[in-house]
Each structure stands twice: as C-alpha cells, then as structure tokens.
Symmetry: C3
Subunit: 363 residues, 3 copies
C-alpha cells in the first residue's frame, strides 16, 4: 500500500494536494474522532478524515454510521441528503437510499429487482460512539483491529474536565510534536507557564506497549501559579505520551491530591489541516469553579498561541514547497513520532523494544 | 485532433484545468451562443467559449465579429480596446487595429508597408446574429458547416416566451443531462412539478436526423396545476430532445390548444462552467399575462434548484478528482449524450441508425 | 545553473509557479532593492526577491542583513521573530538565534557545544544600504561582484526628487519594456504626454559598457506643457536606458537649465509581480514647489495607467498559459532586454560590442 494514494471501493482516490517533503503519514488503520456526539443529530453531517469526505449519520437505532460522501449514481454528496425514518440515508438529487453498511436499498422509479446492487454500493467506514465522541475507522470496508482510545479521568467526578476543539493549519505530525514539545513552551508561551531561571532537568524516553511513546521528566520544579510551591514536597511528576495513530497526552502529578491529564485527540482532516479535540482533566485541592475558570483561560491562551505558531510554520513551509528540519537532541518526541507514523502507515508493526534514551537539558 | 488541447492560429493552447474522469467533450465544430444581441453594443465584449477567450464586437455594418482575445503584439486583451468608426477593433495598449477577419490594418508609428502582416493576424471565429442571439463557431478560422440552431415558436405571436440566463457550475454534459432527466424532477423538484403517487409510464428513445436524440414518454398524465385535468382528453404528449452540440429541448403537448417548448441553448464557457440560455415558449388557453407570470415564477424556482444541485454535484466530483457514475436503465439520456459528444469531438459522424430503446419506469 | 530552479544552502528550491512561455529570467548575480531604508526599523521585515523569502533586519551596528526566511529547526519564518540587543535575529517558535551571516549562536535549553552548527546555518544574502535604499544580492552565500546601482542627481540639491513605489502585476521584463517603450506613450497616455500630430523621429540603439543598453532619440520636439516651447532652441535631447539586472532610466535634457532623469529600480518579487521604486529627479527654471506638485501629479497618473495596463496584459497572458509576442522594428528595447536578461541568467557575459541600430518612426 502506498502513502501517495489509496484505493477505496476499488477505485484509486486522488491523493490530497501535498507535494514535496512534508512530514505527512496517512495511517488508515486507526480510529479518528469524526465529531462530538452532540454535533451529530437528525441530519447527516459532512466530515473529512485523512482527506476523504465522509457522510456521517445516525442510522438504525441512532447508531452512528459513516459512508463515503459520494452517491454512486451521479456523485452528489450524500451528506446533502436526509435520513429517513427507516434509518436509511437518502441522496438529495435522485433519491437513492443507502443503509449504514453502504448497501443501496432503493432507486426511485426503478421497477423490479436491484440486479446490480453491488455497483451501487457506497464504501462504508466503521463507526463508534463513546465518551461523547463519534469515531470512525480510517480504512473503508475494513474490520477495526481494536476499539477507540479510552480517555482517562473524563468520567471521574473528582476531576474538572475542560474541553476545547481547535483547528490547526498544519500536518498531524506538526500538531503532535507541538503538543508534546517541552522546549517551545518556555519560549513561545513565556510567562504563561514555565519561565524564570532555567534549571537542568533530565528526560527519559521509552516505548509503551501497543504503539505508544513516553517521555518522563525527572527533577522538574513545581509550575508557578497553580498551587503554592512547598519545598518540603517531592518534585512534580511529568509525562508526555503519544499513542498511535494520533493521540497526544500530557500528565502532571503533584503528590496525591493534584493531578492533571490533558488528552488531545487529533483528526487529520487533510494533510495540512488537523483538528484537535482537547480534553483537560484536573484534580486540585481547590474549589472546582476556581479550577475550571483558571484552567479554561490558560488553555485558551496557550492553544491560541500554538494555533498561530503552527499556521505560521505551515505558511513558511508551503512557500518553500516542503520541509527541511534540523533537529537537536532536545527534539525527543517529533522525529520518533514521525518514524512510528511512517511505519504504521506502511502496515508495519511498531517496534516496542526500542531502547530507552536519556537527555539532560535546561528548562 | 486531441480532446486535451487544441491548436489555434498555429499554436497549442494550454488545455483548461480539467483533470481526471470528468465527462468533458469539447466539440469545436458547432455553433454556440456568445451573448444576447442586446448585450453587444458599441463596446467590445469579452466572452469565453470552450475555454477560449474571445473579443466580440460589432464591425462593419454592425455585424458581429469574434476574434481571439489577444493582441498579437503584447497579448493585451483586445476586448479591453475600442471599436473605431471604420469598424476596426483597436487594442488598448499600443493601438494596433484589426478588422473582423483578424487582419491587422494599422500599427501606430510604423512607417511604410505592413510587410509581415501575417504574423500580426488574430485568429477569427465565424459569427452570426439570429432570433436575438449572437452565435460563434467553436473552431477558429473555419468555415461553418451549417447555420445556428433555429428556436421554434419564439417568433410565433400565439406563444408567450419566457427567457432566462443561468450559469451552471458544471460540465456541459451534466447540464444537458439535468435538463433532460425525468427521474430527478419527481425528487429534487417535488411539489413543483410531478408528484403524488407514481404510475408506470413507458419511454422510447430514438435518434433524430442531423445529430439529435429524442425520448418520447407514453402514458404520461397531465401535469397538475397547468390546466384543469380533464379525464375525457388523451394523455399529455411529452418529448425530450438533444441536438448536437449543446441544445436541450423539452416539449409538452396537450390536445390542440396547449403547447410548451422549452429550448435551452448551452454554452460551455469552460469545462466546469456552462451558461444556459433558457427560452420557454408556451401556448395555453389562458390570458398571456397569467401564463407569463405563472411560468416565469415556476421556471425560476426550478432553475435555481437545478443550479444548486449541479454546483453541489460538481463540488462533490472535484473533491474526488473526477467522476465515477453508476447508471441504471432510467438514465436514458445522459450516457447516450456523452457518447454523441465524444464522437462529435473526434470529428466522427454520429450514428443515426442506432436502434430504438424502450424502458418502463415509475414517475 | 538552470533557470527553472535554484539550489540554496544545498537544497533545491521549488521553482515559482510560472509555466509556459513567459518572458521570465531570474538573474541571481545582481543587486535588487529589498526595501527603503525608512521601512527597516527595529523589527525584522519579510521581503521576497526573485521568489525567495528573506528575513531582513538591522544586525550589529544597525547594518542591514538578509537571511533566508526559514529557521533551520522547524522552518518557522525568521521574519516573525525579533532582533536582540546583540544584533542577533531570534526565531519566534523555539528561540534559536542567528547572526547576520546566518550562523546559529544559541539554541535555548541545549547544554554544551554547538557541535553541528553547520547544519543549523541559514543561507545569507549580502546586503547594502545607500541613497535611502536597502539592497540585497540575489544569490545566497555569494560575494557580490560590484556595488548597487548609483542613482544620479538624487543627492544634488538643484534637483527636485519625486519618489514613488508601485507594484506591477507582471514580469520584470514586461515592466522594463513598459518603462522604456516610447510607442505606447502616445496611445495609452494620450493627452498626458506626447500627442498632437506625429512627426518622424529617429532612434539609435547602442550597448553601454557594463551591461547596459541605450536608445537615443533624435529630432524629438519639446514636450508640451513643461515649459514654453521656444523655436530658437535646439530640440530636446532624450535617452532611454536599461542597466542589468533591473534598472530602467529615462533622461530628458532641454538646453542647460532643464534636466529630468527618471530612474526606476525594479525588484522581481516573484515571476509575475514586480515592485518598482521610481525616482524622478527634475531640474527646471521654475520654483521647486511648482515643479514638485506638477510632476508628482503627472507621475501618479501615468504610473497608474501603466499599472492597469500591465495587470491587464498579465491577466491576458495567464489565460493563454503563456506569451506569444509579435514584435515590429518599433520594439527597440523589449526583445533586446530579454536577450540580455537571459544571457545574464545563464552567467554569460553580455555582449557589449553589438552593432548600433537606427530606426525611423512616427511619434
């Protein structure tokens, strides 16, 4: 299977517009958030995942279904049609009807048997609904290998959950690297978090079972402003994690009572547009309303800065027709994530036995 | 001759932007409406036909003339110039002058003979004016094989003529198919015309002499709302017709006193933009003002729905980089029209002896 | 070296979008105005020269410096960063720092030696500041062969200097030809200058040392409106000149007291966008305020007409995917300038011994 183009329903889809050396990998065998549960009502919804237009709708029993967004008859977008009481999706041009598996059940006007029903099939994508999200599997007409990513703490009432959706004009890889990159925070988000005189800390990078990557930071100081620093307490614990194909996670723990897990579910809409569903779960020895208001404001500020930086980065890369990155040992996550994405795109098992790596730096 | 690119004036023009499997055929040997007579006054007018920019103007004696819209000197658009009292078209940059056949008559400043006048020729397109339209022949520097299409009933005072111009963002083929497709009307235009319980009707498709195709509908019921249905009268007669290269025609006859002929003159501006000059001629046993007001409103509603559907269809196709159509026996006109366009584009005679075809369906 | 693409810093840059037969030549070995001195303050400035994005800034001692506008780390545009007190340019994403020669002096967070500093170099372009302009050399990491063009009369207090900046949507070649083309002035600028009954004049074209081309006009009459024509005085002297790679110059002399030199410094921003820095120096036996107000108004009128004509010409050419020019002997400058640009682009010495050419025409 090639990264350049993919066959869906027996046909070679034109690849999205990316040319040159962009860090793009299209991992088809994986779950991606198509939308929030609340965004999918009685009408079909057009979404794009991995450059492929999908018609999302609630079929029989209200269960989400996803079809390639193209009626096989005259290629009218199915998402512009309507959902019938039977749970069928009906095209808005000539009224052809399809079920959640893409089978054409009816062609208005046609008398007799649906002899060549196979030619009228629409490629279908497996869909799931869980924890407030509708997920789709990236490969058409395929059986998913597992279930969607489980978001920790979101269902735990001791936690405040702050949720946001942000569109980043960049590759999935650039968004993932940005979310998990420590060095830029001290600079781009100066004054927001991190700051003051830098001190030496150590990072340990290791693989996680099932296609994950983790960096643990040792010796990190308490982040200013969140709670009063108390010198008699152990240093803050901090992990950054990546889970194939597109989840980033940042976890901070400060003793037994303070805990933060930010899980960012990325959907590669197209090669250069990545939607990020941001779920920040926080538990602090403070009133929930206070935590919520403080965290929400900080999250918005930081995500807006990141969004601007990523758009600017992409504009810069576009002008040159592609990337040319020079990494240092501080880039612990980015290059490794790209390697995992590329392996996964080619259908290779990701090596879980890669050795640990330790790096010291100033932060 | 290739469908991909065409030589005009000895030069290979860059083909329009279409890629992939769009149903595009560029029939050069045919007449196309360039504009309405009333739209061409003293100033030159820029029009595009088959992707080729033309400068249209009224030359000697007010007769329309059409030149390639490019001054041979520095490629300034001739349509940005002006028409002199001599009937010559003068370029707006350096003042070169051309007659209706494209010959350069004068270069300001130049002393002596016009020695290399041939290099200064502009390709010219035959032009005609008739029944309120200015027509151009699609091939440069060629002698037309016939005269422009004659619009029936438009000059008959017993008829009300309702005229409209609509730009459809789609291929010529998609516009023709839409104009002559019966099944979509019951669905897309539900409640506008057709509707209620469907009954079985029969369609007969046959070739017409001189590059035409006709479908006759047998057993069709009277259309509601146009006149009181009277059960003692014979069923409505109904024909849909296509005439090469780009005319669609719909005719309804109800006894001797009611008659409707809608003639749609299509101009392929570019591969994915088609201008439709809609001429609906109606004769009914009702006051003309009533007919006109009723028909005009209905025509606008239907054409607006078709315009939206065709734009949506084209957007859908663009996203996938091309078409992939699955037709049924209900698609009597579309696939056959494409075959005729493709034959005609390659300069082949269109087969007039193709056998009749009969299909039953519900409408 | 190819005209299609150029390697900068060891990498093949994607060529700008030009296709087909545009009169485009990318002369890298030459000076181009990057901006006016007054436009470059404490912040870096993004400019594009020959399709290459540059980050312009005032480094050590306030001297202008120009780097390729791409941080080698994650390709963030350096022009979006800031200039430090040390004179270093700091990237806005991760804070990497560069001096005016493109060397990376610091990576925040990194401990120890800058071992692979070479991989972190940014291509640098020589820069100069003179006569109110900041110039850059067109080739990266190259030693300039000479100094920027010296603008005559601008520093002479007897002259009034009228300055303008205009963006022309056309090739460098089209802008140069337009600036130095006499025949269009009588037509496009009719009534602005030149006009009335044409008389025969003679033009002599000759090469100038160091990559220049000059046309001298003999027998030209005094231009109306500038000063009272006095028949007892010798005819106006008039020269048009081109200097490689991008300077146009028009000089009029009327006896000893009236003198006009218009120097137009062109910067090819991209293939189809050319910025023109217009410096008109005039000495007349009239009050300076009167000269300034009269000339400024006339210059604006003429430049606006030229800008519109050049944009229209480019639109016309784009539609046809390229140029197809038919020149006459009146086109003394344009074809010869293109020849010189093409030779220069390929690194060839421009032939200075080309023979004189004499042409008579009406103007």
């Amino acid at each position: 299977m090639s990264a350049e183009a993919e066959r869906i329903g027996g046909e070679r889809l034109a690849p999205p517009i990316t040319k040159g050396h962009f860090s793009v990998a299209r991992v088809l065998d994986g779950w991606y958030v198509a939308c929030r549960s609340s965004e999918l009502g009685e009408k079909p919804r057009a979404v794009t995942v991995l450059g492929t237009p999908l018609a999302l709708f609630r079929g029989a029993g209200g269960r989400p279904a996803a079809l390639l967004d193209r009626c096989p008859h005259r290629n009218f977008p199915l998402s512009r049609g309507r959902v019938l009481a039977t749970g069928a999706l009906q095209c808005g041009y000539h009224g052809w009807q399809f079920d959640g598996q893409g089978a054409c059940g009816r062609v208005p006007g046609l008398i007799g048997e649906m002899a060549d029903a196979v030619a009228r099939r629409v490629p279908a994508f497996a869909a799931r609904e869980a924890q407030g999200f509708v997920w789709v599997w990236g490969r058409a007409d395929a059986e998913p290998a597992d279930e969607p990513f489980h978001i920790p703490c979101i269902d735990d009432s001791r936690y405040v959950a702050v949720q946001r959706t942000f569109d980043f004009e960049c590759t999935l890889h650039a968004a993932l690297e940005n979310a998990l990159d420590v060095p830029h925070t001290a600079f781009l988000h100066r004054g927001r978090f991190r700051g003051g005189d830098p001190s030496e800390i150590e990072a340990v990078r290791r693989r996680l079972p099932g296609g994950g990557l983790e960096v643990e930071y040792l010796g990190e100081r308490r982040r200013p402003g969140e709670a009063k620093p108390r010198l008699d307490r152990p240093p803050v614990e901090h992990w950054d994690r990546f889970f194939l194909p597109s989840v980033a996670q940042v976890e901070y723990k400060d003793g037994k009572r303070s805990h933060l897990v930010a899980t960012i579910l990325h959907t590669p809409v197209s090669d250069l547009l990545t939607r990020a569903y941001f779920v920040q779960c926080i538990r602090l020895p403070l009133p929930k309303w206070l935590v919520r208001s403080y965290v929400a404001r900080k999250v918005d500020q930081v995500l807006r800065q990141d969004r601007d930086a990523l758009r600017t980065q992409t504009e810069g890369i576009r002008r040159f027709g592609g990337e040319r990155y020079a990494s240092t040992e501080l880039d612990l996550m980015g290059p490794e994530i790209l390697r995992m994405l590329k392996q996964s795109e080619r259908g290779l098992a990701v090596d879980e036995a890669a050795p640990e790596r330790r790096v010291k730096f100033l932060a």
